[in-house]
Symmetry: C2
Subunit: 443 residues, 2 copies
């Protein structure tokens, strides 16, 4: 009797929590869908929606009439070679935005970036294979492929054929339509008439958090100056809150500098003042010291600019003029600032450990764009990463370190770079520099 009751309970609870899928297409006609922007044709037959590529028409979208916020969307797709397509979600077509052009998140479908998410007519790539080289694009077949999109609050994640592709945290749009794209092909005759097909398009909108997939791609947090739940769980904290001077102060004063630094629209900006070292607002340092950590900072510089991120800083060491003393992740326009040619074998170029170790030649840097600086400290082992590439690696507190320092600008600072802990510093070098997304994970 007890066994039967148990079986009944299991069966009952199973049906109670079974995922509820709603098909988005009836398989016979396009009821519930509307065509937007272009004039390419969408056909439906035997449960398959086919988009036919057409010359001389802009992107054409087949959009749901309904909007969807949090959902799990699954569909199969098949695309002819050479075509570009995609599936919009949380998207819109508004008269007062680009004259009605469809914009918003797009699950990319093409031969190279499928599964990545492109922000159509807005911010461009949000997450692609560069963020997750192991992504599901590698499973793409010249036949039907299975796609899955999970949009739950700020969390957006994608899969192709069961392999994770994208995963990011973004707060730009919380709901909108779903739309199938036939991309414009200009006057390319070869692509004219080729097709992209979808079938089994189905959506789940209830209890979606419960059905989120455990195995997903590495998360990218796109929300400026924020810590996502994943980051928080992993131990990350904001080192700058994006709004106030909390946690920071002038290196040689007890308050935040009254001039020289501006907090504006989620950016922390060192103002231009003629290129002098700590002569305007002066360097700013964290009010706390840090020992073992991963520090991430995004920075953007103007042509010819000089700045830096220092660590193991003791602001009390240098009682005189100039910057506070510590190890420095150099920030510089290598092309236009003369310091790049000074020093020894490039040890004053961007990403270098200033005046000590040149950044690796494999480094990549973009002027006038945000670049990502990562500094990893594990006791005496230190690494500099610039835009995802390790550019400097060294061990301190040993004979080689002391011998190297003895040759450098820092030779007269007792025990330079060997402190157990220190403050983190952003440098005022009299040039315009922007910082954002300053995050730290203590180890």
């Amino acid at each position: 009797m007890k066994k039967i009751l148990l079986i009944i309970i299991i069966l009952f609870s199973g049906s109670l929590y079974a995922q509820e899928w709603t098909p988005l297409c009836n398989g016979k006609n396009l009821k519930g869908w509307k065509k937007l922007n272009g004039n390419a044709e969408f056909k439906v037959k035997d449960g398959i929606i086919t988009g036919v590529y057409k010359m001389n028409t802009p992107n054409t979208f087949l959009a749901t009439e309904k909007n969807y916020g949090d959902f799990i969307l699954e569909f199969d797709f098949k695309i002819d070679e050479g075509l570009n397509s995609g599936v919009q979600f949380r998207s819109h077509s508004l008269k007062d935005y680009n004259n009605g052009k469809v914009h918003g998140y797009q699950f990319e479908i093409d031969g190279k970036w499928s599964g990545g998410v492109y922000d159509e007519e807005r911010r461009g790539w949000l997450y692609n294979l560069n963020d997750n080289p192991a992504g599901g694009i590698k499973t793409l077949k010249n036949d039907w492929n299975k796609a899955r999109i999970e949009a739950v609050g700020n969390s957006i994640r994608t899969w192709i054929n069961g392999v994770a592709c994208a995963n990011f945290w973004d707060d730009m749009t919380q709901e909108g339509f779903i739309a199938l794209q036939v991309h414009s092909i200009g006057n390319n005759k070869e692509l004219n008439g080729k097709t992209v097909c979808w079938k089994d398009i189905r959506i789940c909108t209830t209890n979606v958090a419960q059905y989120q997939t455990a195995t997903c791609a590495p998360e990218k947090n796109i929300v400026a100056n924020s810590i996502s739940p994943t980051e928080a769980k992993d131990g990350w904290k904001l080192l700058w809150d994006g709004k106030t001077a909390n946690g920071w102060k002038g290196a040689k004063i007890n308050a935040f500098p009254e001039k020289g630094w501006v907090i504006d629209n989620g950016l922390l900006k060192a103002q231009k003042s003629g290129g002098g070292e700590s002569t305007n607002g002066g360097d700013i340092v964290t009010t706390r010291k840090y020992r073992n950590f991963i520090l991430k900072v995004e920075f953007k510089i103007t042509p010819g600019a000089n700045s830096g991120i220092k660590y193991f800083v003791d602001p009390d060491l240098n009682k005189g003029e100039g910057s506070a003393i510590g190890c420095e992740f150099q920030i510089l326009d290598d092309e236009k600032h003369p310091d790049a040619k000074l020093g020894v074998k490039g040890n004053r170029t961007v990403g270098s450990l200033y005046d000590l170790i040149p950044a690796a030649e494999s480094k990549k840097f973009n002027l006038n764009e945000f670049n990502s600086a990562t500094i990893i400290v594990t006791d005496n082992h230190v690494e500099h990463w610039l835009n995802g590439i390790k550019v400097v690696e060294y061990e301190r507190n040993n004979q080689m370190w002391n011998a190297l320092v003895a040759y450098s600008k820092f030779k007269d600072w007792l025990n330079f770079g060997n402190a157990v802990e220190g403050r983190i510093l952003l440098q005022d070098h009299g040039d315009e520099v922007w910082f954002k997304n300053i995050k730290i994970k203590e180890l």
Copy 2:
């Protein structure tokens, strides 16, 4: 029946190979012994020989009339505080050597160096606690102690209370008497009348190799330019044979230099020529290259001298004047040679990695005496040891190494110090320098 046979065989073979001990004293009188050199008194009673300390007489010895070559000697000893005593072995008293003074190996007995071996009236300390800090002296009691000496061919080993003390390989004397020492005490009244006692003095002279103790102290090879069986077993080889130029050649010529270098009496000598770098005979290098190794070199310099031991040397790199290019264990008289004050923070002093890494301040160096240089290379990890103290440690083939080299004299030599293998070089810097015991163990 078989069992009984087996037992008989075991019993029989046991008695066949039982160690044969011969007492050196009959316990009643000093028959078989003779007194030498001094006038201190030796008494014997109830199996105990007692030496009585006496003012104003030189060292007194009670020596066996018989000589012993290979043997294992065991005895118990007890010594009053403050006294110095010992047991000579393979020793002699010869009219034409120091007017009959007893000389030869002495098993030291005192409060500090007991168990070490001192070469009485000859070469001084051969092996003491500095060579084996874990030695048996720590087990010494203010009561009876057990001593063991094993002299088998060139191998001499000692123990106190079962703990290994000394172990060296020497070929100076193969046989001689055994003698108990009462050391002179000058006119020290406090020590007058104090005593040292011995008992159970017994010797084994047959099948001694068979009874050698497996657990012994680290071996020291005292035979110049030789490889002991222990060293050979451990992989050591002579890098210089002590007699010829075999295995060596001029760094920039195909033969051994015709001038500037002299091989004499087991020493390899760079001759004085005015202090120029490679201007006399020029540097000499091994004919072979070495990759991973422990290199040991003993060197002695004259006041103000400059020389060096280089490794990872490629003699073809420097086509011009001066020394061949490689990493250098610097040899220098830090006091008198001006180069010690040049360079950066002492990186040109003795033991340093020349112009790159200063030797640790804990280093010890003796002018006009032989010093021991050890260079250990394990792929990219390199160590310099000077007289048993690690003075330099570094990693090459990394960013820090390249950054350090970039600051040094070697900045223009492509990939300096990063070669997988290279020759070993002894430098002619125009000063008189002696080398001996050049040994290498490839790893």
